[in-house]
Amino acid sequence: MDRAIKTTIKISAFITFGVLFFIIGYILIMGLPNLDLSLFQLKYTTENVSLFPAMITTLMLIFLTLVIATPIGIFTGFYLVEYAKKGNKRVEIIRIATETLSGIPSIVYGLFGMLFFVIRLNFKYSLLAGALTAAIMVLPLIIRTTEEALLSVDDSLREASFALGAGKLRTIFKVVLSVAMPGILSGIILSIGRIVGETAALIFTLGTATKIPEGLFSSGRTLALHMYVLSTEGLHVKESYATGVILLIVILVVNGLSTLLSNKLTKGNENE
């Protein structure tokens, strides 16, 4: 009986990790040979199906989204951990709001972005509309990781700083933040992963134009959107594989970095 239980558990774990590594291996092996130099030409044409404009658009979107979401997310973390009193009603409402936000499917974000940013505010399909939508989407993630990182900072550090005469703001920026930084960074890096992989929230906000956006109010497509359009058209399987490989590599790097940083955070605390 014990043996059977143990075997079932081990088989389940094997299936989970087997599937994961099979997916990664399959996409890499099938995709890497398709990474042709012609895919990296400056301009997209129906002949070269270049993914280069999509790469640049992805980078632009990441940058713009983080510029919007990072300060708001980190400041919210500051407020929740450093300023608000425990059991405060306001804190409770903010918590419920962020938790609800993190459960909303990306297609609902996408539709909201379309109704609000694209139509009501008349941004059209644009980099700005896409970035604002994506910013709301990653906000809960940044808030949560910031909160966790701040909470992991030992209170004695804050007290020492106060005792030396530093004000609250100075304590946060000079003492708390420097200790909590790796945790906050790992949250930001995970957000990059979310933005890179997002499709449903962007298709009706950023749009799917094939060129590099010329400005905030110009449309484009990210790598993930590019891959979606190619997969639904079904004409460019090779190019889909190639885009998949790039997406996967980005996600591997992003997750590796974030793991490294959060390990650093736990290690830093153990040493104290």
Binding site: M1, F78, P105, I107, L139, L169
Partner: protein, 287 residues
């Protein structure tokens, strides 16, 4: 004096930032509900929810979303059947059966699994799972079974991470007490630790359901997307989410409103699921 005013100013800045997520959720509610409810009122809630025909191009057009509601429910049940047992057992493995060295490698792998873009999952299912299902069941290979397998895989990280945390949160003394009574390691975990962690495991399943219902771009590629009543496990279906994406690009007027109303219904589903999740979580934390 000056530093004091900066302190106060920044305090206000932090507070305003914190209210942003409330503003966001309120705006989302307003726009999604205001966009859909007028159409639902005009068309009739009953006709909309229970109508079995989605024919936007007919005259007069019919907008019944029951096929899509059932489609979403079926693939979600399928995903639960596939994902939940494997997920919970994998979580048990991570928490109680694997040594530290392997864990250091496997835990980040689960996070990686959560980070893989849904389009990559969908594409993988399209090129690998669809042909296999086509060989076994015939047809196009794009059907409830394929979508369930895909979603079952995609909800694994959610279920594993939350279940594992709740299994780890069970006090060690429970396990030790069971061992002291002569039960084996396996038996103690199965009949003492897992039942104690059940509310955490339950909330992981609920969150998994939310993920499965909300997933869009991966499902589009493998579900077949026929807007008709589900006709069998090996037949194609359309879900609420995919209905929106497929037709929004060219929809106009009433059709477009019907799609936004579809999102309203989807959003209502998600809010209910989230509410259940938050209630369970709060009760666990307080109890």
């Amino acid at each position: 004096m000056k530093s004091k005013s900066i302190e106060n100013f920044m305090k206000i800045v932090f507070f305003i930032s914190a209210t942003m997520s409330i503003i966001a959720i309120v705006l989302i509610c307003i726009f999604i509900f205001a966009g859909g409810i007028p159409f639902i009122q005009e068309y009739g809630l009953k006709n909309f929810l229970l109508g079995t025909e989605w024919k936007p191009n007919n005259t007069p057009s019919s907008f019944g979303i029951l096929p899509m509601i059932l489609g979403s429910i079926y693939v979600t049940i399928g995903a639960i059947i596939i994902g939940v047992p494997i997920g919970i057992l994998t979580a048990t493995y991570l928490a109680k059966f694997c040594n530290k060295k392997i864990y250091k490698f496997l835990k980040p792998s689960i996070n990686l699994m959560a980070g893989i873009p849904s389009i990559v999952y969908g594409f993988f299912a399209l090129v690998v799972v669809v042909p296999i299902i086509r060989n076994i069941f015939g047809g196009t290979g794009m059907n409830i079974i394929t979508a369930s397998i895909l979603l079952g895989i995609m909800i694994l990280p959610t279920i594993i991470n939350i279940s594992e945390a709740s299994i780890r949160a069970v006090p060690r003394s429970y396990y030790e007490g069971s061992i002291a009574l002569g039960a084996s390691h396996e038996k103690s975990i199965l009949s003492v630790v897992l039942p104690t962690a059940k509310s955490g495991i339950l909330s992981s399943i609920i969150l998994g359901i939310g993920r499965a219902i909300g997933e869009t771009m991966a499902v589009i590629l493998v579900a077949g997307n026929q807007a008709r009543m589900p006709a069998g496990l090996a037949k194609g279906i359309r879900t609420l989410t995919t209905n929106i994406v497929i037709e929004m690009a060219y929809a106009a007027d009433e059709h477009r409103q019907a799609l936004i109303a579809t999102a309203t219904i989807l959003f209502a589903f998600i809010l209910i699921i989230n509410g259940i999740f938050l209630t369970i979580k709060r009760r666990t934390n307080n109890g």
